[in-house]
Assembly symmetry: C3
Amino acid sequence: MAFKPKIPIALLLLSLLAICAGLALAMQDPELKQCKHQCRHQRQFDEQEKEQCQRSCEEYHREKKAREGTERRRSEEGSSREESYEEEEFGGEHEEQNPYVFEDEDFETRASTDEGRDQVLEKFTKRSKLLRGIENFRVAILEANPQTFISPAHFDAELVLFVAKGRSTITTVREEKRENFNVEQGDIMRIPAGTPVYLINRDENEKLYIVQILRPVSVPGHFEAFHGSGGEDPESFYRAFSWEVLEAALKTRRDQLEKLFGKQRQGIIIKASKEQIQSMSQHEETPPRIWPFGGDSTHPFNLFHKRPSQSNKFGRLYETDPNECKQLQDLDLMVSFANITKGSMAGPYYNSRATQISVVIEGEGYFEMACPHRSSSGSRGQREGSGSSGRRSRSGPSYQQSRGRLRRGTVFVAPAGHPVAVIASRNKNLQVLCFEVNAQGNVRFPLAGKNNIVNEFEREAKELAFSLPAREVEKIFRNQDQEFFFPGPSRQQEEGGRAFE
Amino acid sequence: MAFKPKIPIALLLLSLLAICAGLALAMQDPELKQCKHQCRHQRQFDEQEKEQCQRSCEEYHREKKAREGTERRRSEEGSSREESYEEEEFGGEHEEQNPYVFEDEDFETRASTDEGRDQVLEKFTKRSKLLRGIENFRVAILEANPQTFISPAHFDAELVLFVAKGRSTITTVREEKRENFNVEQGDIMRIPAGTPVYLINRDENEKLYIVQILRPVSVPGHFEAFHGSGGEDPESFYRAFSWEVLEAALKTRRDQLEKLFGKQRQGIIIKASKEQIQSMSQHEETPPRIWPFGGDSTHPFNLFHKRPSQSNKFGRLYETDPNECKQLQDLDLMVSFANITKGSMAGPYYNSRATQISVVIEGEGYFEMACPHRSSSGSRGQREGSGSSGRRSRSGPSYQQSRGRLRRGTVFVAPAGHPVAVIASRNKNLQVLCFEVNAQGNVRFPLAGKNNIVNEFEREAKELAFSLPAREVEKIFRNQDQEFFFPGPSRQQEEGGRAFE
Amino acid sequence: MAFKPKIPIALLLLSLLAICAGLALAMQDPELKQCKHQCRHQRQFDEQEKEQCQRSCEEYHREKKAREGTERRRSEEGSSREESYEEEEFGGEHEEQNPYVFEDEDFETRASTDEGRDQVLEKFTKRSKLLRGIENFRVAILEANPQTFISPAHFDAELVLFVAKGRSTITTVREEKRENFNVEQGDIMRIPAGTPVYLINRDENEKLYIVQILRPVSVPGHFEAFHGSGGEDPESFYRAFSWEVLEAALKTRRDQLEKLFGKQRQGIIIKASKEQIQSMSQHEETPPRIWPFGGDSTHPFNLFHKRPSQSNKFGRLYETDPNECKQLQDLDLMVSFANITKGSMAGPYYNSRATQISVVIEGEGYFEMACPHRSSSGSRGQREGSGSSGRRSRSGPSYQQSRGRLRRGTVFVAPAGHPVAVIASRNKNLQVLCFEVNAQGNVRFPLAGKNNIVNEFEREAKELAFSLPAREVEKIFRNQDQEFFFPGPSRQQEEGGRAFE
């Protein structure tokens, strides 16, 4: 209290807010809060089910508290590290939500018709300043009914598509040349910024489900769609010009232009006839795709046609190779796909440089992550100059658990350096698509299983670091002989899963 | 003590202003406002002419409203997209001006003497957060009388010069070597950051007019000039050192140093004698310039000595080629120059990646641009989750026209992806210098004339996109057979031009 | 109409604030203020000594004012340039401290035990927005007692170490391989982001003193340490996972895990036994280091084994060569080390592109720097449009001196383009380690001595720039025939040094 009196007048209001936030945090654990929040936003639940769900959260929370009582007590000590970080960076702002998990309600519907919709995830920095490093990436998900047409547009953003489900034909125009690409599940395709593009769902029955990552080229963190072909809906950008200019540019009388740019009213995603679909999906005149492809080819390539980089009975990991995949190189991006067998888990591990943006494609489960930014520590003591012993205070950061439930459409972020584990429910495989931003030179360091980093330390380092005989340390870190994918928590399998399953 | 309580007051005021701004926006159309604003700032107008001019604005505005009544009604629907964008990005801040046009009053005079002046355009981000992508570029214009000397300086910015008018000798010092370059209209020259440079107007009669683009290397968006040689005006930075240090460094007694650094009082741009000019313009000992030049040559090159990349009787476009022009490559910059024949127009077109900063060198006219950021849309409806039909709401962005009058010295910005057209008055050719920022891999997509993108679409795509038979679409988009430059709006030519001409 | 009057109100308030700030500035010179500030923060001083010290500041200040009276009068003219800059950039915020000097109290102790501590300099942008260009670099200093172990960790930052004192063995784990490096004074080593690293002070008597520069890869300007090996202190990040997940991942029962992650309580820097030290310092199985080394080797290299790039009896300068030092290339970083002989000085000079972050390793002295950002000018006059003569106002920027005392641990920043000189006390050599950020293509331009830039100007340019006969200018700029290092201020040597010595 007596610590900050220098700024008080200006920050009086802010302090009040901070105190309120503090109280709120003390009264309600963020995990509990999020659990309840998720209950309230289950669309398929009715009011009664929502209440029941929230009660389960509380019950789970009470149990967990009791179970972990002793070791989690540290979070009550001193000032929170989050606070000091926030003060340092942003003048006391508080994050109330888990900054790393995004649900349905965090998407904005940019376009929607009876035949489908395009949803864009909110800006990462809107959620938390901790995500500034990926500010200039946006995630979007396109869904379209069978036999539909998605209207031509260009974007002021670099665009990478992943076909999560269904079959599409994607058409682009570059350098006065049209190219058509038939794509299917697992295909990745880069659309350079500004390129006119349109596509169809060429399947008669299956929905098309495309996950997109966009990197804006003009306004950092923000992009727009530009529809030239259209009328009232989608509105054509030609209509923003005066009739005089349009008449001169297109050498066409106004009445004809009014007709041309006034007819379309069905929106961006519309039904196409069987004949139209057939015709458009047979235009692929480009040579067959060969793996690996070179140069700056814009051809899509299929992630699932590669050998998995990790594979055992607990899961499979498919990854783009930066050398093969020139299209993604200048975006400093890698794409990977993990299929975690039901009841199994991936990690813990961490990425050395990359921040991983993951989108759940199918299945259920949860993740756990160790976060120094959000945790409490006794760091205040050291600030006042120490080194002189007496009562000892903690000498490094403290880590708090970030945890989130995963289901289809959930997006979660694992920043560089942060240890993370992903656990599949025991009912269904968990399929996760990952975009790795800042990918160049990235290394994945395993924290368990074969080749985990502790195993590599010298005997003396193990002794000194853990304050235990080296052989005891070694024994534990050599127990697990699988790599990357492991059998999941046994408790979960035996008891039916408390942990968000 | 009395220093800090200001913040609450400031916030109070800001809140009031925000409310006022909201009201004001409702009451007055931005375009009308800008038109009147321009009237009030015509230096050559007397008070009566200014009033007349403002009345014309109102008249024009009334007419336009009536004319466009039906199709522009949409702007009244729902919440504005600008607002939602602004809220998303910047917490509700309002743009009051057209963010893309800059006039005389937006320049700051950094240096001024009887012989000339150096004017710097305000930071782009001061005008609008939408210009964050070009934050780290600044535009400046130097004017100097015949037979003048512009004092030596270095800058904490990369500097690219374009000689818009006149003849100069530019001298730089690099690696213990002086180099002199005789430059003339159309010459482009890169001055690396920190390089000492001085120049002369070597012409006996003509003014020198140099347009500069600067990319700061130290403080993003901000640069400074450092004058070593000088005295009181320009002040020499040597004077900021203590006499003790200067005495030791220059091994010279203080009285002599006081004389050395105390004499100059005439400022940065000063008259030179005929003999001095003659001597300095004959020092060019460097080999003659050959086109194309290679390596990291710092030699200037002339844009007008190239073959134009577009040329017909309606205009000519000269462009630097990134491969030939190594000097600009690491700045990710291209320079182009459009000479639009009187009564003609360029575009509409858009740049795929580059943001185009244009400076009007000569002539008059106007531009029109389609802006999704500033326009209104019914997007609110979709936010609340749709896809379930019933009453349909618009499925994509809406575009607003950004329009601005062009005359000598006007700067306007066309961000990546934004469709834009530039129209010359019928009295005089319109000459526009363009800096394209973020130039690598940029493609210009034509929206009218030969090779326009709609022509490339498949028949089915045209049908589906416009909801019209393909042949009707094709007929219109094939009417115009010119490329890039077209005859201007006929109405303008017949009626004497309502549109800002 | 109701639209514009807000701006005058806003300006009114700003003007009032500006006036207040002006008064405050007039009342207390920043240099005096800093001098006194330094007095108050001398830890070794008692209250009486602090007061005495502050009185000396005032005395020195009075004398200096009198001495420099006439030529410094300009600072009273008109509005300050700092103001206009600050308004332009940051809405009127005022810098109260010298933004370029950092002392003990500007470090935060991140980790501290009886055996040593790790201190991190505050974010540069916390001090001043002027340092935004180096926002994403952080400086840290590690001190460890003889025969100690620094616990394993990885960082979400690229890390460059310089061994300022002592002998260490540094161990890293990369690609399932451990590497040990014996390093000593002068060694520079790059640790890629995310790499697990631990080290020892292998000397029996000498303290280890390592200066680090870090470039965060995840959150700009912010990094965290991740300790996996540890227990309660340092806290292991494994503890942030649930026991269920840890049991499954490490295939080990909870009671054993609780023991493993509960034992360590001694902190990050701990005593090691003689045997442990001996064993760990003999593990270096890597081939001997050869100079120059190629590829992307991660081997350390020694700056002092190179030929100095500048050397005379007044000082020596050692520099990394970007071509030899591949490790630093992608960080756009250079490292240099200046050993300035007692009573001598380096510069004045400036860097063309690089911003120089200097850390004083040993000795005492001071620096002087010319700063356009912080100085006053008559620029207000020109804003209202001039060029029309009458009463003349200054035509360019004005420069203010930034000056700071240097002693062990002081950090100071010289931004690109800023002329700077560093002066050693006459008692002891001054040793300064410099990190040059934005190093690619950087050129150091000398402002005195051999090859100074003024010497390179043409005769006519000298005449015109200084308004003096060319031979008078030449005479002075040729007096000093040494290069880079010069004998220091004679006054300082004769009188015992007023100037902060």
